[in-house]
């Protein structure tokens, strides 16, 4: 193990400029990928915030007893898609309208009877906030005898679906392209480092080193470079995030766990690139 560490460290000591260049290249390749990750993360957060507003309102027939509505809440909350159902009385509805529609204050003051019906407001669980599930729940709600009307903003939910699909495709295609580009850049960088030491590899073989013995320091070297590149990318991403966010633009950054996963991703890429490069080299010398 000590020998392995020493051999891996030697590669940094031996060619510090090339090693720094490798780490920087890996760092920038992952930085671009990370930037896209940040955009995707914030896009997802924004979508989640919009999705949270997806709600189905079931207006109740006038005179529906509270006990019946309460029993219905139990039934509705048993639906697998439903997160919660809330009973809004006629008075609550009027009070809310007074607060939300200030410009119609005079109209509300002139009312002798409350025209607003009681309702059940139903929120769905994440993952069920698309038009298909919303429509399915609405159809089931329509089966209740005391349901006067069901509203859920059909067009709006459909548009949200479309937005979600477009975002998904964009993240998949562009993110995939960035990821592939990073893998190619990192692979080429590590391969250059391996080629730089091809003479050393041939001498190692000459004195009877096994392929495993030759490969191990390169794997460690690739993993360390990948990890350092990943760390550099996280720092660069944080710098970009800090420079852009603030003021009106409120963005999110990766959580600590996501940052660690990102560095781990860099490490794995470095490891995989080394493994492929050395493997290829060993097959050809």
């Amino acid at each position: 193990m000590r020998l392995l560490m020493r051999e891996a460290l030697l590669s940094f000591r031996r060619a510090p400029a090339l090693s720094m260049l490798s780490v920087t290249t890996i760092g920038f390749a992952l930085f671009v990928l990370g930037l896209f990750g940040l955009v995707a993360l914030n896009l997802r957060n924004a979508l989640v915030q919009v999705e949270e507003r997806v709600e189905i309102v079931m207006y109740l027939m006038r005179g529906t007893p509270v006990e019946v509505a309460t029993l219905a809440i139990g039934d509705i909350e048993a639906f697998p898609e439903v997160a919660e159902a809330m009973y809004v009385t006629e008075d609550d509805a009027l009070e809310r309208a007074r607060h939300e529609l200030v410009e119609l204050q005079g109209v509300f003051d002139d009312l002798t009877t409350n025209p607003l019906p009681a309702s059940l407001e139903i929120r769905l669980k994440p993952g069920f906030r698309d038009s298909e599930h919303v429509r399915a729940v609405a159809e089931r709600l329509a089966g209740f005898r005391f349901a006067e009307d069901i509203r859920y903003g059909r067009d709006w939910v459909t548009k949200l679906d479309r937005l979600r699909n477009v975002a998904g495709v964009v993240v998949f295609v562009i993110g995939g392209a960035f990821a592939v580009a990073s893998v190619i850049i990192i692979g080429t960088t590590i391969r250059m480092a391996v080629m730089h030491r091809s003479r050393e590899i041939s001498i190692m073989r000459l004195v009877g080193a096994t392929d495993g013995f030759i490969r191990r320091p390169f794997l460690l070297d690739g993993a360390v470079k990948g990890a350092l590149g990943g760390l550099l990318a996280v720092l660069l991403n944080y710098a970009a995030y800090a420079a852009l966010s603030g003021g009106e633009f409120e963005a999110s950054f990766f959580t600590t766990q996501q940052s660690i996963l990102f560095i781990l991703f860099g490490t794995l890429l470095g490891l995989a690139a080394s493994s492929l490069s050395v493997g290829r080299h060993l097959r050809h010398v």
């Binding site: 030697l10 001498i203 073989r205 000459l206 004195v207 009877g208």
Partner: protein, 233 residues
């Protein structure tokens, strides 16, 4: 120690590098392999240390048949062969001692034993005082001595030298050649490829001459046939 039986080596474009080469080097023997550039000397050596395989025929080295050698067994064969080249092939960023120690590290020798063995063999080639020098701080002759020390450190029964004096002046050549003779005197079979005929003439060692990939002269056969009353050349 080394046996070639009807070995042919063809290159991808069809040219024959070796044609029906057969010879045997016994334990403790010193053999010169001579011939012009391109005669096939280096090919013979490469087949011995399994850097290449014969197209047909059989090569046996120290108990290993290289034709049927599994890839994972090649390092085992190479640890039983010491090899030196004209261009030394030292690791430039390691000291003389580290270069020698490296050949022990690959075999998994304990660290404490490595230092002792490396220093002992450097002393044997007369370079103990320069153990901590880097190759570029050494003369050509000294670099070749380090390479010899590295090749010797695992006590190989077979020692291959591919034009080991090709880059050296006369004095260094004499020193390196004497070292190879000492190694042989200790019981190691030495096969030295060279086109330096002055060196060959200095001794009575067996000589195998290659020409266009074929053995055209083997002094052992000559002497045995001379004994029978017929000279080959």
């Amino acid at each position: 120690m080394i046996r070639f039986a009807h070995v042919f080596k063809a290159y991808p474009k069809g040219a024959l590098a070796l044609k029906d080469v057969s010879f045997h080097v016994a334990k403790g023997e010193f053999v010169f392999l001579t011939g012009h550039s391109g005669a096939g000397k280096s090919t013979v050596l490469r087949l011995i240390y399994a850097d290449d395989l014969p197209s047909s025929g059989e090569v046996r080295v120290s108990g290993f048949a290289t034709n049927s050698l599994k890839k994972r067994d090649v390092p085992k064969l190479r640890r039983r062969i010491g090899i030196v080249f004209q261009d030394f092939r030292l690791l430039e960023d390691r000291t003389a001692e580290e270069n020698v120690a490296f050949a022990l590290e690959v075999t998994g020798t304990r660290r404490s034993a490595i230092v002792v063995k490396a220093m002992r063999v450097l002393a044997q080639v007369g370079l103990a005082a320069k153990a901590h020098a880097y190759p570029k701080e050494l003369s050509g002759g000294e670099q070749q001595r380090v390479a010899i020390a590295r090749a010797l450190v695992n006590d190989p029964p077979v020692f291959l030298a591919d034009e080991p004096t090709g880059n050296l002046d006369e004095r260094a050549t004499r020193g390196v050649f004497q070292l190879l003779r000492d190694i042989n005197a200790n019981g190691t079979a030495v096969l030295m490829a060279t086109h330096d005929l002055d060196l060959v003439r200095q001794t009575n060692y067996r000589t195998i001459e290659l020409q266009d990939g074929a053995v055209v002269y083997d002094s052992t056969e000559e002497s045995s046939e001379s004994e029978g009353g017929r000279a080959v050349r």
